[in-house]
Structure formats: structure tokens, C-alpha cells
């Protein structure tokens, strides 16, 4: 049963935007992680979307990839992860960028929510036909 038109697309988008917000949260949380599981500084994750076609149209997360640009090198000889010159490889997370991403993800999330609300109102109107 599928009463609300376009609800598949909206649901998939809400899901995708939520994943994106999770990834942003992870990036911000790891803004100072100098040792990841691979022993190097944390690399920020980037979510890419792809559109789905057909009856279950919408959007989905194509992949969560790494951003390979180099992070800052900071001189900090006291740091346990400093190399022999006293330089520490910091993660390539930039807080300002992440905040922008977070804002646009939450804005997209809200937009999709209002689409769902709209669909529900339309269904309610259809149910009131003849009443």
C-alpha cells in the first residue's frame, strides 16, 4: 500500500541526509585525532549521493569516501605523535567547512520533512472527498 505520492523518494532522502549528518558529526568529533586505525592522522569522510530511478525513485548514499587532501603540519614537539622534527600531522578536518555541511544537510532534511507533511495533508484532503 502506497497512499502518499513520492513518499519513497522523501524517505530515502531523509535517510541519506541523516547519514550525511552522522558523517559530519564523526568528522567534527575527530577534528583532533592524530592516530586513526591505520596509524595515520584521521582523514575526513565525504558522503556522495546518487539518484535512484524506477518505481522506488529517490536518492541513496553511493559511498562514504575519504578526503585525501593533506592536513596541516603543526610544530608541537611535546605531542606524543610528533615526528623527529617535532612536527605533528593534523587531520584534514576544517570545522568551518563541516559546519557549512551540517547546515546544508539539516536544511535539506527539513525540506524533505515539509514534503512529507505536504503529502500527508494531501492524503487527508483526498480522504475528505464527499464529506
Amino acid at each position: 500500500m502506497d497512499f502518499l505520492s513520492g513518499i519513497h523518494a522523501t524517505a530515502s532522502a531523509l535517510n541519506a541526509e541523516k547519514i550525511r549528518m552522522d558523517v559530519v558529526a564523526q568528522n567534527i568529533a575527530n577534528a583532533h585525532t592524530t592516530r586513526d586505525t591505520d596509524g595515520k592522522a584521521y582523514q575526513r569522510k565525504v558522503v556522495t549521493f546518487e539518484s535512484l530511478l524506477g518505481p522506488e525513485s529517490g536518492v541513496r548514499v553511493a559511498e562514504i569516501g575519504n578526503d585525501f587532501t593533506a592536513g596541516e603540519l603543526v610544530y608541537n614537539p611535546q605531542h606524543p605523535h610528533a615526528d623527529k622534527d617535532g612536527m605533528v600531522q593534523m587531520p584534514n578536518v576544517r570545522l568551518a567547512m563541516e559546519m557549512v555541511d551540517l547546515l546544508s544537510a539539516s536544511r535539506a532534511y527539513e525540506a524533505n520533512l515539509s514534503v512529507a507533511r505536504n503529502a500527508r495533508q494531501m492524503a487527508a484532503k483526498a480522504l475528505a472527498i464527499g464529506r
Binding site: M1, D2, F3, L4, S5, A123, A126, L127, I129, G130
Partner: protein, 109 residues
């Protein structure tokens, strides 16, 4: 109608009356399409089958919605309302007919 076979004496007269009403249908009222059937009879039959048709259409729309073949909630609602309007039209016609019949039955001869 097997009224005549009942062992009550008055039913004979009833059967006679029944036969008489059959014969009393004027020849001009016969519809060209219905073979020997009175026009009104035909009309009722057609109306009832049309009401049945709208009901079936509403059912088809509902099934389509359930199976996900369509998501047009409004079309299902419209079909259901149309069926309900057609049905209430039929019920009203029936009520009027019964009313008319009772009016005639109460008539002092």
C-alpha cells in the same frame, strides 16, 4: 410465485389478482429491446446493474491501491463516493416504490 399451491382459500384470489396485473400492462409500454418485459421492469434492472457496476469499479480502485499498482488515493475515494451516491439513489427509488405500493394498498375501493 407459487401462491396458488398454498392450501389457503384466499390465495386463489391473490393468484388471480397477480395474473390480472400481468395482463393489465399496456402493450404500448413494452420496450423495443426487452423481449416482452415491461419498460419499467427493464429500467429497474438496468439501473441496478449500473449501481452494481459502480460498486465493482470502486472495488477495483481499492484493490489497485492495496496492491500498490497506483497511489491515487483520490481516485479510490471518488470511486467509493460515486458508488455510495449511486447506491443511495437506488435505495431512494426503492423507498419511493414501496411508499407508492403501500399508498395503493391503503386505497379504499
Amino acid at each position: 410465485m407459487q401462491i396458488g399451491s398454498l392450501p389457503i382459500p384466499q390465495t386463489r384470489e391473490l393468484q388471480a389478482l397477480f395474473d390480472a396485473t400481468k395482463l393489465a400492462t399496456p402493450a404500448g409500454a413494452q420496450s423495443p429491446a426487452g423481449a416482452g418485459k415491461p419498460a419499467f421492469d427493464n429500467f429497474l434492472e438496468r439501473a441496478i446493474s449500473e449501481v452494481d457496476g459502480t460498486m465493482k469499479a470502486a472495488d477495483t480502485e481499492k484493490t489497485k491501491l492495496f496492491t500498490g499498482e497506483t497511489n491515487n488515493l483520490h481516485q479510490a475515494m471518488i470511486a467509493m463516493q460515486e458508488a455510495s451516491v449511486a447506491f443511495s439513489l437506488m435505495v431512494e427509488v426503492r423507498n419511493k416504490l414501496v411508499e407508492g405500493y403501500q399508498e395503493i394498498m391503503r386505497m379504499q375501493v
